[in-house]
Subunit: 464 residues, 2 copies
Amino acid sequence: QGKFSVDEHPHKRKNILTNGWVLVSPHRAKRPWSGQTISKSNPSIGNNPDALASATKYLDSCYLCPRNKRANSKANPDYPGVFIFQNDFPSVLKDQPEFSAESISELVNVGNQTKAKLKPVILSVYIFNLYSRFLLFLLDANTDRLFQIAPTRGKCMVICYSPNHSYTMANLSIEAIQLVIHNWIKLYFELSLPLGPYPNPKRTINYIQIFENKGEEMGCSNPHPHGQVWALETVSKNVAVELENQKNYSLASCKSSTKATDQHSCMLCDYVSSELNTSKNQTSGSNSNRIVLENDSFVALVPFWAIWPFETMVLPKAHYSNLCQLLSDTFTKIDSSNVNDFQNLVDNLCSQTPTSSNSQSESSNTPPASKLVSDLASILKRLTNTYDSVFNSSFPYSMGIHQSPVLDHPDGKYFHLHFHFYPPLLRSSTVKKFFVGYEMLGEPQRDISPELAASRLRSVIPRD
Amino acid sequence: QGKFSVDEHPHKRKNILTNGWVLVSPHRAKRPWSGQTISKSNPSIGNNPDALASATKYLDSCYLCPRNKRANSKANPDYPGVFIFQNDFPSVLKDQPEFSAESISELVNVGNQTKAKLKPVILSVYIFNLYSRFLLFLLDANTDRLFQIAPTRGKCMVICYSPNHSYTMANLSIEAIQLVIHNWIKLYFELSLPLGPYPNPKRTINYIQIFENKGEEMGCSNPHPHGQVWALETVSKNVAVELENQKNYSLASCKSSTKATDQHSCMLCDYVSSELNTSKNQTSGSNSNRIVLENDSFVALVPFWAIWPFETMVLPKAHYSNLCQLLSDTFTKIDSSNVNDFQNLVDNLCSQTPTSSNSQSESSNTPPASKLVSDLASILKRLTNTYDSVFNSSFPYSMGIHQSPVLDHPDGKYFHLHFHFYPPLLRSSTVKKFFVGYEMLGEPQRDISPELAASRLRSVIPRD
Ligand SMILES: O=P(O)(O)O[C@H]1O[C@H](CO)[C@@H](O)[C@H](O)[C@H]1O
Ligand SMILES: O=P(O)(O)O[C@H]1O[C@H](CO)[C@@H](O)[C@H](O)[C@H]1O
């Protein structure tokens, strides 16, 4: 395996100005690129309805289509539904040489005049716990903390939504989207294993991020419908902050409550019910409704604080902390007592193909999708179709799931599962909002109000 | 003036998941767009050296060229050097209707089932002071804080660097860049007036952000060389966090020091000297040098924690907290005793034109640029030329100045003035790094190591 090298092996570094971390994946520079290039005539399937109409189900040159060969890898199977494989150019590696202060000491050639020392940080402690974070801060404050670096191992998976090259989430059948959801659940579940004790220094995965980049504008290198799952040793800053804020809200509400119950309130439960209320109590002429879509179990809304012009969140109305809880009431908590049952159920659900699940009654072995999963599939389909209607073009976005970092995270119960959709378009299918200058140096800035964006989205919801 | 309306008037909203704020500028949606559109054949001057060579000094259709008319505005003067005007589509307004809980109550139609209340926040207190922030947090935790909104007034200025339409910072003469710097100083100084007491509720400007978006990839709507200055009522999250971290570092170093001096150490002073040391002590074969350029007063380096492939920071080697301090030792502190002298000096410097200052001795009225300003001009010119050499094309970037939020900010002394350059290109003049999916949902991720980026930049520094 050799020695750890910062020019070769993934690691994290701390930005001492912002307290943020950057994930450095030096080996990825070798990755080939078939995505967007700038300022070239490059009509993308994504933005060109004609191209979409004429697009074939199967493309010889696509490394995600069934039966085709991938870079550094064997041929894809002739998959009928969802196909999952390990990213050929992962941002993190499962195995890499041991990381120690010596192996990276070259980064800072310590002279006499400076006290700067390279400081590897035990990130698992650092990020997972607010209190230890504070202790570490006190500790740090008095020592040198200019150069902080942390190892980070992990796994990167790719999940193809469909064998059909020309599809997007909006084109998939409800059954096909349910199959995608079941596979997200399976990935999240299996990457969380083995469960407890927590934190477990032997475990290399403590954070699972499911996401999708759609469209060339969003750095997607291949229009074949697919998403990604990055599973890392360390929780990302964004998820750690969201978790911390949700936990603080719950604990504070608990203290301020006069009834001594164990019933904490949840920030996003309160937020969703408040938004639903505002929407219901709308007086004519007022325009404060941020709800875009709603069904029995889920809402899609433009958050009060949205950054991107047509940004939305999809949230369950009730409190669920992770995808697994959507399968059945039996699995609100998964532990050693039911982990095998859960594995069987999820394997069973994932073995279906979209066509076979169309006729669910045929086989008694394949359980139907739960009400929650089918409501989620339905709102995802309606939302992506609504996006495509805004400018009558395939709407690019980055989408991702925020939930408990892993299934058995001790603070996971405070997290309210949600999807973020970050679409870049602003004024037409070709004019996007730029997150530049003031946004990079100061803070996000948006041009249309979230309320107007929601009303615009509502006005183009396609009929079912 | 009428009533405050969230669909019309700029304001800020709080993201309760991240504690970040978003600046909402609903009136900007009316802005015309002549910048980049996606996936169209659209050869940009920025990326096309041929187009650059043939570009004219003056363009009829450019609203920034001398003598031309701007939107909603009169004709530009026939300016010889730098030209400053108020943005015709500002993100914030100097005057807007009073903001009160009632004027925005429509945003949340409070029902019976929810306790959610719209909460306007006194941001000036919230953001400026760490302790009051913490108090507010405690207070907040027990009340409802789902919908937080804050008024924010301000001014947006545009600064044209040169009458020549085809120039960039890289093409300008040192004298012309000095003139730009002198005008940045003048803007920062004048927007900070009247000085003290602080905080002053009557003052509408408490944060001044100077920046430049260059190239269509960076949302620049016009290639005419220009930057922007946004001056706001409230400090942005990024600058507030940088200030807080620098202050904490200084105060901690003070406590841990055995000598009871008033001499706090500064985080970026320590960082710069450590980087210079590493660079000096480089052993052959090792590759830990992150310095790109250096002169007597400034360094340009790829920060240890850089996010963008070729990101750099430009920093003075000694401690300066704001641009004004670069003019002369006499003005390390500007207060009522010397504010008029400073105004005279800066007016004098800005009245020069690049050609007249070429022969500085001609007029005894026009003082020469200080050593610091001329070293800064020189390193900015060399750095932008280095960028253009990486892929042999005009390199796009967003650039901005971080310094004390305003001249008389009480914690301003902890700030170490610096420039951030955020360039998007990764592998060629047409392949950029996308800040999408994992980056948006989790944390920044980079592909080449900062050390390799620095060595790549060093290898293409053009000779003077
Ligand atoms: O003000 P401009 O140059 O028209 O606009 C540009 O810079 C602004 C500030 O960074 C951004 O908000 C815009 O998205 C960008 O296009
Ligand atoms: O992994 P991919 O699809 O090749 O790459 C895409 O997604 C990644 C994760 O969001 C980004 O880091 C890349 O910039 C983007 O091009």
